[in-house]
């Protein structure tokens, strides 16, 4: 359920690397419990913005509030209030399922018996009962991704950032993953997700599209499609995501 209470507020965010402007005056809000899709072409500046929002990098100027914390002043405190998962690396492959859960619970500052209780509940919910002592390296990719997501929200953060979480997984697992996202958002956790699958953008409550460091569109998928008179977010994206380049005729 989304409300109109912002959990992320970005005002005039600028990030420069030397003379290169990676984020050029970004302004947007993300609401509590919302599924927010963060789209853009390769090199548009998504990763830079994502790193600032998750406290890994400081803005050059502008104001960024994440879960009530000022990202410019107190990036460390942001990390306690968020979960993060990316496609490439999230779980330690040479640890078992249970060991990974325990490790992340500890990193997120959870108490030992709290972790134990959550671990049992998590394994039950994912129907992972048989896998508790399995090494991550032996788990199929789809199961790994689901587990990585569950671990990223283990400590009930206010926001979870998912950076291309479903790359390369099969369509069934991809949908199970989105069901987990719905469930998480319904439980009040804001989900901030990047993806290259434009059909996945349609699962989001609202999406923003970045191009050359700027946000060039931000609305519900339905409203964007209506505005550009097309039938898919993919078509919207192709129209506006890379103004400098034309499709080869």
């Amino acid at each position: 359920m989304t409300s109109r209470e912002p959990v992320i507020t970005v005002q005039n965010l600028v990030k420069r690397f030397g003379s290169f402007v990676a984020n050029d005056n970004l302004n947007f809000e993300v609401y509590a419990g919302e599924i927010f899709g963060f789209l853009g072409a390769n090199g548009a500046g998504k990763t830079t913005a994502l790193r600032i929002l998750s406290g890994l990098s400081a803005p050059t100027s502008g104001k960024v509030m994440v879960a009530g914390v000022d990202a410019g002043r107190n990036p460390e405190r942001i990390k306690r209030n968020i979960g993060y998962m990316c496609q490439r690396f999230s779980l330690y492959e040479d640890l078992t399922v249970t060991e990974n859960i325990t490790l992340y619970g500890g990193i997120y500052g959870m108490k030992r018996n709290e972790i134990r209780g959550k671990t049992a509940a998590l394994l039950e919910r994912l129907q992972f009962g048989a896998y508790g002592n399995t090494l991550i390296s032996a788990l199929p990719l789809g199961l790994r991704q689901k587990l990585a997501f569950a671990v990223a929200v283990l400590h009930q953060p206010k926001i979870v950032f998912l950076d291309e979480p479903t790359g390369g997984v099969d369509p069934i697992t991809r949908r199970q993953f989105w069901e987990m996202i719905y469930e998480t958002a319904a439980g009040g956790i804001t989900v901030f997700v990047t993806t290259h699958y434009m059909d996945e953008a349609e699962y989001c409550d609202r999406v923003s599209i970045m191009s050359e460091g700027k946000i060039v569109a931000l609305d519900t998928p339905a409203a964007l499609k209506k505005q550009y008179g097309v039938s898919s977010v993919e078509e919207v994206f192709v129209k506006i995501a890379r103004p400098g380049q034309q499709l080869i005729p």
Binding site: M1, D170, I172, R175, Y182, H196, A241, Q245
Partner: protein
């Protein structure tokens, strides 16, 4: 060896009647892991043939077998009439291969990479420039830049140019669009379409279901097995049940309720909708009333046109993978 298998060892060129790739019963294991089982398919001259499947399905292993970099444990495979075991040299000369990663030398410039590949195949850039003109001209302004300093889309164009520079009759592309944004992906498929006009047969793999419709024919591959080989339209037409799309502001509640409805056969989230198929025999309580009883009052139901992904989901959920899903769905069913 049986005489029939030695049918034409001296063959140098293949006729148009013959498949470009002909695989029968290919199997490959690594230790106890079965990567490919009983894979059979034919690629016809001039077509764009796609292998669609997730990571770990066996696509790369299969491509390494086609390109003679790996030997199959079982089965027969001929590429342009050449046997992968006996006549691998003939195959290597006539194919262009773009592996998923690292086909470029990052510490050579754009131009040096291209010249290197031309030289390896005993030709020159000038000789076959016509074939790559459309693609290479886009990156030619940066020909003195190191390949390592190119953007993803530009690397992809250079890798494709390098794979084409010896004018192969078969082009093999292993996940060329993975990790590439939607605009670059669309551009890439446009380039492939143009290559077809040069009579180049293309075998391509992708994890993106939506790219299936860009191919002339596709094979759905999962867990080392091929589920279906056909044109995208025929595959989609295999979806024979009425399909409904349901919409509600609370998707999570909607999905849960639909899974509990005794008449539900399958339910999948699909963008802003949920795709639903129903059983032949329905319970007395109509779905709208059932949904209302479960607290969903804003649901809209409409008939939907099935897409290729609906059929893939149907094929895949009826087969062996992901047993845990079926358990979940059946929990509340009588």
């Amino acid at each position: 060896m049986e005489p029939s298998r030695r049918a034409c060892p001296e063959k140098q060129s293949f006729s148009h009647m013959q498949p470009v790739v002909q695989a029968l019963g290919i199997g490959k294991s690594f230790g106890t892991t079965v990567a490919l089982r009983d894979i059979s398919f034919e690629v016809l001259p001039g077509e764009v043939f796609g292998f669609i499947g997730p990571d770990g399905a066996g696509k790369t292993t299969l491509f390494r077998i086609i390109t003679t970099l790996l030997l199959p444990d079982a089965g027969e495979i001929q590429v342009m009439g050449f046997d992968v075991r006996r006549d691998y040299r003939g195959i290597r000369k006539n194919i262009g291969y773009m592996p998923g990663r690292f086909s470029l030398y990052m510490d050579l410039t754009v131009e040096e990479n291209l010249r290197f590949y031309a030289t390896v195949f005993g030709t020159t850039v000038e000789e076959n420039y016509d074939l790559i003109r459309d693609i290479y001209s886009q990156i030619e302004p940066f020909k003195h830049r190191m390949a390592g300093k190119l953007s993803g889309g530009m690397k992809q164009k250079l890798a494709l140019s390098c794979a084409l520079i010896h004018k192969p009759s078969l082009l093999i592309l292993d996940e060329p669009t993975t990790g590439v944004d939607a605009v670059s992906r669309a551009e890439f498929w446009e380039m492939l379409k143009k290559l077809k006009a040069h009579n180049i047969t293309i075998v391509v793999s992708t994890p993106y279901m939506d790219e299936a419709t860009r191919c002339d024919r596709v094979a759905l591959i999962q867990n080392g097995r091929i589920f279906s080989v056909d044109t995208p339209d025929h595959i989609t037409a295999g979806f024979s049940r009425p399909l409904l799309q349901v919409k509600s502001a609370s998707k999570h509640l909607l999905m849960n309720a639909l899974k509990k409805y005794p008449g539900t056969l399958s339910v999948w989230p699909f963008g802003e909708y949920v795709h639903l198929t129903l059983r032949d025999v329905l319970p007395e309580e109509p779905l709208p009333r059932f949904l209302e009883r479960h607290g969903i009052r804003d649901a809209t139901l409409m008939e939907a046109k099935p897409g290729i992904e609906d059929r893939f989901l149907e094929l895949m959920s009826g087969a062996e993978p992901v047993p845990e899903y079926r358990k979940e769905v059946n929990d509340d069913q009588p």
